[in-house]
């Protein structure tokens, strides 16, 4: 395959991936696409198959059926991507007897086209002071930083991170998220982040896929996913009774609560809050405050997985 073909290929394209452990089918005809420049979150409950998916993508596990391509290469040929793909796993994969600097120098030997020095990545990840510490003496968080530092030695087109925020303190999480954004914006690096820490993914991801019972049940841009979900709008106004009668007729609007004095709570499905405001004001209601409560990734995730469970029970 020519390098031109590879440079045009999607960072990740998975079709009908199936993986069984004995009789247990972990992945069932899974489909996934990660586009160039995306920060793609892969979320799922424990045991949903996130790590197995990543291991199949990276050629660490054999799969039973399906087609997997990373930058156009099948998993067994990833080494031909010339460092185009790097991954960081849940447990930092480092030689415990090496120092941080040695671990980075070791990674440098395996890096096809290094763009940063070990000292630079140490500084980027804030681990310069641990440079001469042996990896086995580091905290989990600092081992994870070292692992990420290894990935930053080169200039990969795709970075796959399994539970990237595990073991990091709040500052560490912010640093890693800032790094991901920086690499994504400055170098166009695509990311696939597998995590169950939905609050962090919500802050950083442009795309999201929900893995449930071995299948991707939803995959889209994050805004699209939220637009498909209902949101809450809290309206502080002078006449709740009249406001109720006005909004009742608007499609996609459900009154949730009007019991509190001067406060009306609505559930909106694909309705713009500005439109509600305009309707109320045009009919003489004095709107003092509009509080928009978008659905969280957490609620989105739970509503989708619950819906899938219900559908499965029904079928």
């Amino acid at each position: 395959m020519s390098s031109a073909v590879m440079s045009n290929a999607l960072p990740i394209k998975v079709e009908n991936l199936s993986k069984r452990f004995g009789e247990f089918e972990v992945l069932r005809a899974l489909n996934l696409e990660v586009v160039d420049g995306a920060i793609h979150g892969l979320v799922g409950l424990n045991g949903a198959g996130k790590t197995t998916t990543l291991e199949c993508l990276l050629g660490m596990q054999q799969f039973n059926a399906g087609d997997v391509r990373l930058l156009g290469y099948p998993p067994s040929q990833l080494h031909r991507s010339q460092g185009g793909v790097v991954s960081i796993f849940d447990s930092p994969s480092l030689h415990p007897q090496l120092t941080v600097r040695q671990a980075l120098e070791h990674a440098l030997l395996l890096c096809e086209k290094p763009v940063r020095t070990p000292a630079q990545v140490e500084s980027l990840l804030g681990i310069s002071q641990y440079s001469q510490f042996r990896v086995r003496t580091l905290s989990l968080g600092n081992r994870r930083r070292t692992s990420i530092a290894q990935a930053l030695l080169g200039s990969p087109r795709l970075v796959i991170l399994d539970e990237p925020f595990n073991g990091l303190d709040a500052g560490g999480v912010e640093d890693v998220m800032a790094l991901i954004r920086q690499l994504n914006q400055e170098e166009g690096t695509a990311f696939l982040l597998s995590s169950h820490q939905l609050a962090y993914l919500e802050k950083i991801c442009s795309h999201l896929s929900i893995l449930h019972q071995g299948q991707i049940v939803v995959s889209d841009r994050v805004e699209q996913l939220f637009n498909q979900q209902s949101s809450q709008l809290q309206i502080h106004c002078d006449d709740v009774v009249r406001a109720c009668s006005i909004v009742q007729g608007i499609p996609g609007v459900t009154i949730q609560d009007n019991s509190e004095q001067g406060v009306l709570t609505l559930e909106l499905l694909q309705v713009d809050s500005a439109y509600i405001n305009q309707q109320l004001v045009s009919k003489g209601i004095m709107v003092k405050q509009l509080l928009w409560k978008r659905a969280s990734l957490n609620s989105l995730f739970h509503s989708i997985t619950a819906r899938e469970n219900d559908e499965q029970v029904a079928s």
Partner: protein, 284 residues
């Protein structure tokens, strides 16, 4: 090929900084140094006792350096083989345990080249250990004893040149199975589910063969491990040890010598091929 070079460089980088590699490098040499000193002290005390009893003129048979040199090689190679076997078994399985193998496989190296790089690195370590062991044995033997022909009642039974020739043959035949042992260790490493399982399996199988090879009789000669110096040693080095001490009842089995020459390398190749096939489908 570029992936292989990168993997080999990375392997050597880690080995040079590895405590276990240093232990493997020094352990056989330390053992033979301690052994030589203990033997010399024992000989000296024997000579002192003989002198006190008026029997100082009786020469002890161990006083010729050749016999001590061969014994030291026999002990040293036994420990070298066992420690390198354990290291080979630990190597790949440990990389899989710690996950470091994933970096190499994803970034730059194909699975077969990764295994080959490991095999070459293990052989380089074995070569360095063997070189240090050999130099140490020659120096300590020369310092503590005298090299010379085997002489009895004024007759030269075997000349130094003949002894040297036999020792070289014995060493060559004893070292020939080493690559097969290393390849066997690596194969076990690739097959095992963990580093602990790999090391215990490789050492266990090797020691079990040692115990049962006597029962197998001549059939044991179709296994490379029959020819390596071991705890229950049947290698040609044992015969050389007796030969250089002037024992005339040493019977050289030419068929065994031929099998010693021809069995280990094909078996090594077989182990490597199986390891390369297994590693292609192994979950890491």
């Amino acid at each position: 090929m570029k992936g292989f070079i990168a993997a080999l460089k990375a392997e050597i980088y880690v080995t040079l900084r590895s405590q276990s590699a240093r232990i493997i490098l020094l352990l056989p040499t330390l053992i033979i140094l301690v052994r030589a000193i203990v033997v010399k002290l024992s000989e000296s005390s024997q000579q002192a006792r003989d002198a006190l009893l008026g029997q100082a003129q009786i020469a002890t048979e161990g006083s010729n350096a050749w016999g001590q040199l061969v014994d030291s090689f026999s002990v040293g190679l036994t420990f070298l083989t066992l420690s390198m076997l354990a290291y080979a078994a630990w190597s790949f399985a440990n990389d899989a345990d710690t996950g470091v193998i994933r970096h190499a496989l994803i970034r730059r190296v194909s699975r077969p080249w990764y295994v080959v790089a490991k095999l070459v690195n293990i052989h380089l370590l074995a070569l360095c250990t063997l070189a240090l062991l050999s130099i140490s044995i020659v120096i300590i033997s020369a310092l503590l004893w005298d090299f010379g022909p085997v002489v009895e009642d004024g007759y030269e039974l075997i000349s130094s040149a003949e002894i040297q020739e036999e020792v070289m043959l014995g060493l060559r035949l004893a070292i020939l199975p080493l690559p097969a042992a290393l390849a066997f260790g690596l194969l076990v490493s690739v097959l095992a589910q963990s580093a602990t399982q790999a090391v215990t399996s490789a050492l266990g199988l090797s020691l079990a063969f040692d115990v049962f090879k006597g029962v197998l009789g001549e059939r044991a000669y179709y296994v490379y491990a029959s020819f390596q110096p071991s705890l229950i040693d049947q290698s040609y080095l044992q015969d050389v040890s007796r030969l250089v001490r002037g024992y005339s009842d040493v019977m050289i089995d030419t068929q065994m010598l031929q099998l010693n020459e021809w069995v280990p390398i094909p078996q090594m190749a077989l182990f490597v091929v199986i390891a390369l096939l297994v590693v292609q489908r192994k979950s890491v």
